[in-house]
């Protein structure tokens, strides 16, 4: 029906590998996309060397936002937090492998925004402009 919904997206949406919550987590952050009401929370566990050992996402949203969250978390296990801070839009687009218009791009980038906020140790409710480009 549409290239945007290639099988991998639907598969990650229906059977996500990283859906859930980590209690307790070392870092948690949540945010929403006011345009569509999507809500995403990411929990991380970090080892002594500052590397991500476990990650989980929860909340609700469209297939694009949920699948990109799942793919994104899958790509960061074992990586140092500092590396996550450097990730940008292109990394997400490479992961999901589809072209997105400006509206849907916001859906795909929600997970990156939440993840980077967590990595930078931003407090919930604090308003910070993150560079996602």
């Amino acid at each position: 029906m549409d290239d945007m919904y290639r099988e991998a997206i639907i598969e990650h949406y229906k059977n996500p590998g990283y859906h859930g919550v980590l209690e307790p987590a070392d870092i948690s952050f949540e945010d929403n996309n006011p345009l569509c009401g999507d809500h995403l929370r990411i929990d991380l566990r970090i080892d002594a060397g500052g590397c991500i050992t476990e990650a989980a996402f929860s909340g609700h949203g469209c297939a694009i936002s949920q699948a990109s969250a799942d793919m994104l978390l899958g790509s960061i296990i074992g990586k140092p937090l500092d590396e996550v801070k450097k990730m940008n839009k292109q990394d997400i687009l490479d992961l999901i492998g589809i072209e997105l218009g400006p509206v849907r791009l916001k859906c795909a980038l929600l997970s990156l925004k939440v993840l980077k906020s967590a990595a930078y140790g931003i407090h919930q409710g604090e308003s910070v402009e993150l560079d996602l480009d």
């Binding site: 029906m1 569509c36 009401g37 469209c62 297939a63």
Partner: protein
């Protein structure tokens, strides 16, 4: 050629393909309607032949432009059955019309603790202006509840009126539920309780005949762009004696009678509320939209929409996994919001778009209503005079394809 085919041929955009071989199926008229050639041509004709600033100049073009601008106001005034064209104020849209009342009437006549009564089904444009007013002058807001089947709770309304609100402000037709509220009855009760009545007509004036005198409302707000006209213009109807007592909205040229360095005196109605050079070509287009609607006939339009909506409702209702919002039996306006189990509205809308079908996904500027029903968003299909049954059939086919893809 049958009637609907003839009507469709008046709308150039309806001949458009979204991709080669995929015609546009426009089911988003509640967001904004498409425009017939009559409207488009009147606006380009205005710029090509008559363009000038209005109310300030004696040359031929200035006179023609002023005449066209005021003639359009006359048509709009007749269309909603106002007593006089001086009771019709041009605004940018419904939103600005409501803000005008909140500012020019609210700030002059409301005191801390006064109650403004709204409903749970309001568009953000009939909520936020009142939030702002509450936060700045300390009025109190109360809300008429919406029942589980999407109607206003009339028993609760009567109780809330005992609190003696100063104003009751509500929508004539809901842009999510399709509910058409009993305006005349509600206005009568409000007046009996000593309250004024403001009605949001954004989803009613485009779709059925509205008579502000018969409804006996005090203010009535609507937008041209939802009724075949251009964006950037709308109107506020207000009873003359109220408009006269209100303070001006914005200050500047045109809204004044006289200005000295020390101060000003306000112009007469309706100019008192129209500061600065207005949207002249848009007003001309607004007038042409009214001409077109009148020519087709509001009763015929309403009948067609009732039929299309009933058809769509019964097909959607029988789709497994699809839940519809709003009242089932009551005569409803041409909007149907629904949920497809397990699939986010954005995905539904995006996938339908690949078949050329334009629907809207989101909270439709009614977040509190969605919160009430416990859902973040819905998909909404909305219809107008040019919607065909075959388009509804394609929507249903499209939805089945979406379900299969996610199945």
């Amino acid at each position: 050629m049958n009637e609907i085919t003839r009507i469709r041929s008046d709308f150039p955009i309806l001949q458009r393909e979204i991709k080669p071989g995929v015609p546009l199926i426009y089911l988003d008229s509640a967001a904004t309607s498409q425009k017939p050639s009559l409207v488009l041509d009147s606006m380009s004709e205005y710029y090509a032949r008559h363009n000038a600033n209005i109310h300030r100049g004696v040359h031929t073009l200035a006179e023609e432009a002023t005449e066209l601008y005021e003639a359009a106001r006359g048509k709009i005034s007749k269309f909603i059955h106002a007593r006089s064209h001086t009771e019709v104020i041009y605004t940018r849209n419904t939103t600005e019309a409501i803000n005008l009342v909140a500012y020019s009437w609210g700030r002059k006549f409301l005191k801390p603790g006064d109650i403004v009564l709204l409903t749970e089904m309001e568009h953000h444009s009939n909520l936020v202006p009142w939030h702002i007013l509450r936060d700045s002058i300390g009025i109190e807001l109360k809300f008429i509840p919406v029942t589980a089947d999407g109607l206003l709770d009339m028993a609760e309304y009567e109780k809330l009126l005992q609190l003696e609100p100063k104003l009751v402000s509500f929508t004539h037709a809901s842009n999510v539920l399709g509910t058409i509220n009993p305006v005349q009855e509600m206005a009568r009760s409000a007046h009996r309780a000593g309250a004024l009545v403001l009605v949001d007509g954004a989803q009613s004036v485009p779709h059925f005949s509205v008579d502000v005198q018969q409804l006996d409302v005090d203010f009535y707000a609507f937008s041209a762009h939802k009724m075949l006209g251009p964006t950037g213009i709308g109107a506020l109807y207000g009873k003359r004696e109220l408009l006269e007592k209100m303070q001006p909205f914005m200050g500047g040229g045109d809204m004044i009678r006289e200005v000295r360095l020390e101060g000003f005196t306000a112009n007469e109605l309706p100019y008192k509320f129209e500061a600065g050079t207005p949207a002249i070509a848009e007003a001309v287009g607004f007038g042409s939209a009214v001409d077109y609607l009148t020519q087709i006939g509001m009763d015929a339009i309403h009948q067609h929409e009732l039929e299309i909506t009933k058809y769509a409702y019964s097909l959607l209702m029988n789709l497994p996994g699809v839940t519809l919002f709003g009242h089932e039996k009551q005569k409803r306006g041409g909007v149907i919001a629904f949920e497809v189990a397990g699939i986010h509205p954005h995905d539904v809308a995006q996938l339908l778009d690949s078949d050329g079908i334009a629907v809207r996904a989101g909270h439709h500027c009614a977040m509190p209503l969605h919160q009430k029903f416990g859902i973040p968003a819905t998909t909404r299909a909305s219809f107008y005079m040019y919607t065909e049954k075959s388009e509804i059939d394609k929507l249903i086919l499209g939805l089945k394809k979406v379900q299969k893809l996610f199945g």
